[in-house]
C-alpha cells in the first residue's frame, strides 16, 4: 500500500529522504520551500539569488541528510539552520574583497554549513513552529531596541560578534553580553507568553 506522504511528519519525511526516497524530498520541498525561501530572501534581498540558494540548499539536504541526527526529531531546526548558514555564507562571500575568498568545497560545507545541533535539543517541526509564531513575535518585540537590533544584525545581516562591535563602535565583550541578554530575555518572554 502506497504511503500517503502528505500525512507523514517532518521527521518521517527526513527518514525517507535518508533512504533516498525522492518523493519524500518533494513533499519536504512543498512543505518547507516557502519558509526557507522567505528566510533566504530576507537575508540576501535578491529574488534570483534566493532561488539559487534555495535550490543549493535542497541539494545539500539530499546529499548530506546522513548528517542529520534522526534521534533529535528536530528537522525544523536542522533545515532552518542549514538554510540560514548557506544564505549567510553567500552574503559574507559577497562582502569579501579580492584575495579574501575561501574555497567552498565539501569539507567547508560540512564544517560551516551543516549545523551542529545540541545532542540534547528538544523536538520541533514546522507545524509546531508556525503555531507559536505569534508568541515569538510578541517575545521579540518585548526586547529593548538595542537587543532587537543586535539580534537583527547577527541573524539577518550575518555579522559576527566582532563585526557588530565594529559597526556599533562598542567593545566586543559588550556585544557578547548583549547577545546573551537578548536571547535569555527572549526565552523568558516566550515562556511568560506561553503561560
Amino acid at each position: 500500500m502506497a504511503a500517503n506522504y502528505s500525512t507523514l511528519s517532518d521527521s518521517e519525511l527526513m527518514q525517507r529522504v535518508s533512504g533516498s526516497d525522492s518523493r519524500a524530498l518533494e513533499v519536504l520541498y512543498n512543505r518547507y520551500a516557502p519558509i526557507l525561501y522567505t528566510i533566504i530572501k530576507k537575508i540576501i534581498g535578491d529574488s534570483l539569488r534566493a532561488e539559487e540558494i534555495l535550490s543549493e540548499v535542497f541539494v545539500i539536504i539530499w546529499r548530506k541528510i546522513n548528517y542529520y541526527d534522526m534521534k533529535s526529531n528536530n528537522p525544523y531546526c536542522w533545515l532552518i539552520t542549514v538554510t540560514r548558514n548557506k544564505a549567510i555564507d553567500s552574503l559574507r562571500r559577497s562582502r569579501m574583497q579580492a584575495g579574501e575568498e575561501i574555497e567552498y568545497n565539501d569539507e567547508y560545507e560540512n564544517y560551516f554549513i551543516i549545523p551542529r545541533l545540541s545532542p540534547q535539543i528538544d523536538e520541533l517541526d514546522l507545524k509546531t513552529a508556525l503555531s507559536i509564531q505569534n508568541n515569538i513575535e510578541d517575545a521579540l518585540h518585548k526586547l529593548t531596541d538595542a537587543q532587537q537590533y543586535v539580534i537583527y544584525l547577527a541573524y539577518y545581516e550575518g555579522l559576527t560578534q566582532n563585526q557588530i562591535a565594529q559597526k556599533l563602535k562598542i567593545p566586543p565583550q559588550t556585544v557578547k553580553s548583549k547577545i546573551r541578554l537578548a536571547l535569555t530575555n527572549l526565552k523568558d518572554n516566550l515562556l511568560k507568553g506561553g503561560e
Binding site: S20, S22, R23, E26, Y29, A33, P34, I35, Y37, T38, I39, K42, E51, L54, S55, F58, V59, W62, R63, K64, I65, N66, Y67, Y76, C77, I80, T81, R84, I88, E107, N110, Y111, I114, R116, L117, S118, P119, Q120, I121, D122, L124, A129, I132, Q133, N134, I136, E137, L140, I151, A154, Y155, L159, T160, Q161, K176, I179, R180, L183, K187, L190
Partner: protein
C-alpha cells in the same frame, strides 16, 4: 580548563545565533568534542529559539518553476554518492577522516594518525599506522623496514582496502600480496575471503611454503601450517613479485620473515570479486538512475500540471473578463438561446452592450462540429438572415466575441440561431439550428 569551559559556555548564545567569529567557531567545535561539560540542554534551547526567529516572517512562496530547477540540479548529481556521516564532526565524537583545510586544530593529530605509504626501491609498499593504546614503531623504525602489526580501532581509519577490515599493518608487503602474518586473528576472515586461495609463507630458513586452500574445504586448510614446499607447488601460479619477495626476504630480520604474503593476483576469487564489484556498482548506478528519473519525472509532471492549471485559469479569467466587459453598462441585452429538439442539451447566452456595441455569445454543451465546419450565429429579422460571426469550435464552453453586431433598424423581433456551417461561413444558414432565441421587440 575550567575558565576555558566557562568561556565556551558563555559563547553558547552566539554559537546558537550563528554569529561567532571564525576562530571562536572553530574553537567551539573543538570544545564540543573534547568537553562534555558544555550546557547542551541550554544550547539546544537557544538553537531552537534561534530557528524560531524567522517563523513570523510573512511567508512568500518561491516561483513554481524553482521546483523543476531543483529537480534538475538533483538529477545532475545523480551519480554522486552521499558522503559517509563518519566524516562529519559530531559533538560526542571526533572529526573523522577529515582532511579539510578548515580543520585547523585537527591537522596535526590527523597527520599522526594517517597511514604513511612509502615505497622502497624494490617496489614494496611500506605502510605504517599508529594506535593510541600501544606505542607503535617510530619513523626511524619504519625507515629500517621494521614490521609490526596493529589492529584498527573500530572508529578509526580504514587503511588497507582488503577483506581484513579489522586488521591494520605496520610494515612492508609486496605488491600483489596481502600480509596475513597475524594469522590467528584473521584466520576466519581469510576463509571468508574469496580472494585468498594461495599463500606463501616465509619461514626462518627463507623457504617459501605454499599452501593451496580450496573453497570447497576451507576449514581443512591451515593458512600458516607447514605445507608443501616451493618444489611441491604444482599449480601454475605466477607470482609477479616472487623475485622481489625473495630478494627482499633476504634483507629482512627474523621477525620480518614471519610475514605471510598472500598473492591476490590471478586468482579465480579475485575475478569473481571484480565481477561482483562491477555488478554491484552497476546495480547501485541503476538504482540511482531510476531514483533520479523518478524525482525528475515526478517534478516535471507536477510542473506540467501546474502549467496546465494556470492555462485553464487564465482562459477562464479571459472569458469572465470578456463577459464582464459586455455586461458592464446601463444598456445591456441579455438573451438565453436554448437547444433545439435535435440538440436539447446545448445552450448559449448572448450578452450585448448596446453602448459599446460589444458582446459575447457564450456556448454551452455544443456538439463537436465536423471537420472543416464551425458554428455561425445568425440574426433573423423579417425573414432576412444577417451573420453575427463565426465561432471556430475549441471547447463546449468557449465564447464568441461579438465586436459589432449588424445594425438592424427594425421594430420587430430579432431571432438568433446558431447553425453548423463551413469554417469560412455561409451567406445563409445551411445547417439545422442548434440553439435559438428571440429578442422581442420593445
Amino acid at each position: 580548563m575550567k575558565n576555558k569551559t566557562n568561556e565556551f559556555s558563555s559563547n553558547v548564545h552566539a554559537f546558537a545565533l550563528g554569529c561567532l567569529d571564525h576562530e571562536d567557531y572553530i574553537e567551539m567545535l573543538e570544545h564540543f568534542k573534547s568537553n562534555a561539560e558544555l550546557p547542551f540542554q541550554e544550547l539546544g534551547e537557544y538553537q531552537n529559539l534561534s530557528s524560531l526567529l524567522c517563523s513570523f516572517l510573512i511567508i512568500e512562496d518561491p516561483p513554481p518553476a524553482l521546483k523543476d530547477k531543483v529537480a534538475r540540479q538533483l538529477y545532475r548529481i545523480k551519480d554522486q554518492k552521499r558522503p559517509d556521516r563518519n566524516t562529519q564532526y559530531s559533538p560526542e565524537g571526533e572529526i573523522k577522516e577529515s582532511t579539510s583545510r578548515f580543520n585547523f586544530k585537527e591537522t596535526e593529530k590527523n597527520q599522526a594518525e594517517a597511514p604513511l605509504e612509502i615505497k622502497d626501491k624494490n617496489g614494496f609498499e611500506q605502510i605504517r599506522y599508529t594506535r593510541e593504546e600501544e606505542t607503535g614503531p617510530d619513523d626511524s623504525q619504519v625507515e629500517e623496514n621494521q614490521l609490526a602489526i596493529d589492529e584498527i580501532e573500530e572508529d578509526g581509519f580504514k587503511p588497507v582496502d582488503s577483506q581484513f577490515k579489522r586488521m591494520t599493518l605496520v610494515g612492508m608487503r609486496p605488491k600483489g600480496g596481502t600480509d596475513i602474518s597475524h594469522k590467528k586473528e584473521i584466520e576466519e576472515e581469510v576463509f571468508e575471503s574469496t580472494i585468498d586461495e594461495k599463500e606463501i609463507q616465509v619461514d626462518e630458513k627463507e623457504k617459501y611454503e605454499i599452501e593451496t586452500k580450496t573453497q570447497e574445504e576451507p576449514n581443512s586448510v591451515e593458512p600458516t601450517s607447514k605445507g608443501r614446499t616451493e618444489e611441491d607447488f604444482t599449480q601454475n601460479v605466477t607470482f609477479e613479485s616472487d623475485k622481489n619477495i625473495r630478494d627482499h626476504a633476504m634483507t629482512l630480520s627474523d621477525e620480518d620473515k614471519n610475514i605471510i604474503y598472500v598473492p591476490t593476483k590471478q586468482s579465480g576469487g579475485s575475478l569473481l570479486t571484480v565481477i561482483l564489484f562491477i555488478l554491484t556498482v552497476g546495480l547501485i548506478g541503476g538504482v540511482y538512475y531510476l531514483l533520479d528519473q523518478k524525482i525528475t519525472l515526478s517534478m516535471l509532471m507536477q510542473t506540467q500540471q501546474i502549467n496546465s492549471e494556470l492555462q485553464k485559469f487564465s482562459s477562464e479569467f479571459n472569458v469572465k473578463n470578456k463577459i464582464y466587459a459586455a455586461i458592464d453598462g446601463k444598456n445591456v441585452t441579455l438573451l438565453n438561446l436554448v437547444g433545439t429538439r435535435q440538440f436539447p442539451n446545448s445552450f448559449a447566452r448572448l450578452f450585448y452592450n448596446n453602448e459599446t456595441q460589444y458582446g459575447v455569445l457564450q456556448f454551452g454543451a455544443f456538439p463537436k462540429p465536423e471537420q472543416g465546419k464551425a458554428f455561425q450565429l445568425w440574426l433573423i429579422v423579417d425573414n432576412k438572415f444577417y451573420s453575427g460571426g463565426i465561432y471556430d469550435y475549441v471547447s463546449g464552453t468557449e465564447i464568441l466575441s461579438l465586436k459589432s453586431l449588424p445594425v438592424i433598424e427594425t421594430n420587430n423581433s430579432i431571432k438568433f440561431i446558431v447553425t453548423e456551417e463551413p469554417i469560412t461561413g455561409s451567406e445563409t444558414p445551411t445547417g439545422n439550428p442548434i440553439v435559438e432565441g428571440t429578442l422581442t421587440a420593445p
